[in-house]
């Protein structure tokens, strides 16, 4: 039994170590967002001034709006396009399927910086001025492949006879698609949309290369601000951390809670 206790201690030590490694920087980031002075290392008292500064900072509020707008639009377009493409791919001949999938995996396997400069060169050869639209288009381009990869496994498990039956019973192809196929692959579509949203929301490298001087998302702003560090970034990050934590907790604990409620109801 002594051996077991020692074993548990090692386990605890490993987990405690990794969790402090992951969470101490985030914790320090959050604590210093409430600091009374500009310093990020020495504590001089509690204050909410950086939160006030954040909401008064036009540049930062614009960056937040840009990030959210681009994430929402690019997720919507990538999800629709990716889902339709995935349905097409799953019904295509083997050769076309393999060809499309290997080109599709290029932006996933390539380093982000390579995708970024490729798009930058494309925009400049077409003489497109870089700005909001080029950033939005880039986000749609790099997130669609992930949607396809997330929808395809669902389609593979789909029984082809069901859509066939819908067509035999008089549904138009569009009706069969919308009322039969789409509902059965919804989990894949949702997870694809979630990946697309987070990819877009967090993206730095590609946005940095394809956006002009005027347009900035949160990542680009943090990058350009790093030279004149001040705790407004900490304040912004703290708000993001809190929102993300709440969302993740709700999403992950929801099944447990509903299960418990169902048990109680019985």
């Amino acid at each position: 039994m002594v051996g077991l206790k020692k074993h548990n201690f090692t386990k605890f030590f490993i987990l405690f170590g990794v969790m402090s490694f992951f969470y101490l920087p985030i914790l320090s980031l959050m604590i210093f967002s409430f600091n009374d002075s500009r310093s990020l290392t020495s504590w001089s008292g509690f204050s909410l001034q950086w939160y006030q500064a954040l909401f008064e900072n036009r540049e930062m509020m614009t960056a937040i709006t840009t990030t959210i707008t681009i994430a929402l639009i690019s997720t919507f377009v990538a999800t629709v396009m990716g889902t339709l493409a995935a349905i097409g791919i799953s019904k295509s001949r083997r050769l076309i399927k393999e060809l499309v999938l290997s080109v599709n995996s290029f932006p996933i396997l390539n380093p982000e910086i390579v995708t970024a400069i490729g798009l930058m060169l494309l925009y400049s050869s077409l003489n497109v001025e870089k700005g909001f639209m080029t950033m939005l288009l880039a986000h749609i381009i790099f997130s669609t492949p992930y949607v396809i990869l997330s929808v395809l496994p669902r389609l593979r498990r789909l029984d082809p006879d069901i859509a066939e039956a819908a067509l035999d019973l008089g549904a138009t192809p569009l009706q069969a698609l919308w009322k039969v196929i789409v509902p059965m692959i919804t989990p894949g579509i949702i997870s694809g949309a979630l990946i697309a949203f987070t990819m877009s929301f967090d993206d730095f490298v590609i946005s940095y290369f394809v956006s002009g001087n005027g347009v900035k998302n949160i990542s680009i702003l943090v990058y350009t601000m790093s030279k004149r560090i001040n705790p407004t970034i900490n304040a912004l990050s703290t708000i993001l951390v809190v929102i993300i934590t709440i969302v993740l907790l709700v999403v992950n604990l929801y099944p447990y809670i509903t299960k418990k409620e169902m048990k109680e109801a019985e």
Binding site: K11, I14, L15, M19, F22, Y23, P25, I26, S28, L29, F32, L40, T41, M81, L84, A85, I87, G88, K91, S92, I96, V100, V103, N104, P107, L109, N110, P111, E112, I113, V114, T115, I117, G118, L121, L122, S125, I141, T144, A163, E164, L167, P173, D202, F204, V205, F209, I218, S219, V222, Y223, S226, I229, I233, S237, L240, V241, I244, L248, N252
Partner: protein, 283 residues
């Protein structure tokens, strides 16, 4: 049903324009001379020759070195963690994996930036050292800081990919090994470790790829003078404006990365060919 196959056509057009053409443009720029006239290309190998300057070769080797050490550290640190998590109760596993993945949802730049206030000269770690009467250590703008930043950012990928394989491992094999007289160490080395190799391999690709091409982490934690291949490419495009040379460097990097991926997968396949007797190959 076959009618739906035509849904792929618009996407083929989209892919050609936005995935294939950009790649071809990189190749085109890498093999041509600098010039503004779009239709007057002059082919050259000069951009590649230029890279074989000791200065640039040193940057390439430095990037590979940092990425390889980061990957090895992630395996050494990540494996025990994944192992401990996979042996926990089911509910604890869900919670621990959630805790490991949660930081990944926070903006990568912000996470890296958080380390600056910990590692800087008057930072939190040095204040702790001072409290215990130790001399302050210079940590910012060193290899240590850069690798720490990389391990911090990429370790979750390694843990998750090893954990995924370990969690699916058939417990009966471990019991069988114990019953047949192997001690825990032998069981681990000869049963668990070989079977978990696919997880390690996919972890390697998930860590090595971003580690070799990142330019944010070296810039934040290594300082303006710290040059990895990602920084070199960024400089060529953003600061210097030498797009042709920048494209050549990107092409060299992409080829090296693709090559090491293929090699890693091949090693994995060869290894599993010899070890996966229970996989049914013999029958």
């Amino acid at each position: 049903m076959k009618g739906y196959a035509s849904l792929v056509k618009p996407y083929i057009l989209w892919m050609s324009l936005f995935i294939v053409v950009p790649m071809l443009l990189i190749v085109l720029y890498a093999f041509t001379e600098h010039g503004n006239a779009l239709m007057a290309f002059r082919f050259t190998l000069g951009n590649f020759m230029r890279f074989f300057d000791p200065v640039f070769i040193k940057v390439l080797f430095k990037s590979l070195e940092v990425a390889i050490i980061t990957t090895i550290l992630c395996i050494i640190i990540g494996y025990p963690i994944a192992y401990v998590i996979s042996n926990a109760s089911e509910r604890a596993q869900t919670l621990l994996i959630l805790l490991i993945t949660l930081p990944m949802w926070i903006n990568m730049l912000v996470r890296t930036y958080a380390w600056i206030s910990i590692l800087s000269d008057g930072g939190i770690l040095n204040s702790i050292f001072q409290f215990f009467g130790l001399a302050p250590i210079k940590m910012m703008y060193t290899d240590f800081a850069v690798m720490l930043g990389m391990v911090y950012n990429f370790l979750p990928f390694m843990i998750i990919s090893i954990y995924t394989v370990l969690a699916k491992l058939d417990r009966a094999l471990i019991h069988a090994s114990h019953d047949l007289g192997a001690n825990p160490l032998q069981t681990f080395l000869r049963v668990v470790l070989p079977l978990s190799m696919p997880g390690v391999i996919s972890g390697i690709t998930l860590v090595f790829l971003p580690a070799v091409s990142t330019f944010v982490i070296p810039k934040f934690l290594g300082g303006g003078q710290y040059m990895l291949i990602g920084n070199l490419i960024e400089n060529q495009f953003i600061t210097v404006g030498e797009w042709n040379f920048g494209s050549a460097i990107s092409l060299i990097m992409a080829v090296i990365i693709m090559g090491s991926m293929i090699l890693t997968r091949k090693i994995d396949r060869d290894a599993s060919d010899t070890t996966s007797v229970e996989g049914g190959k013999l029958w």
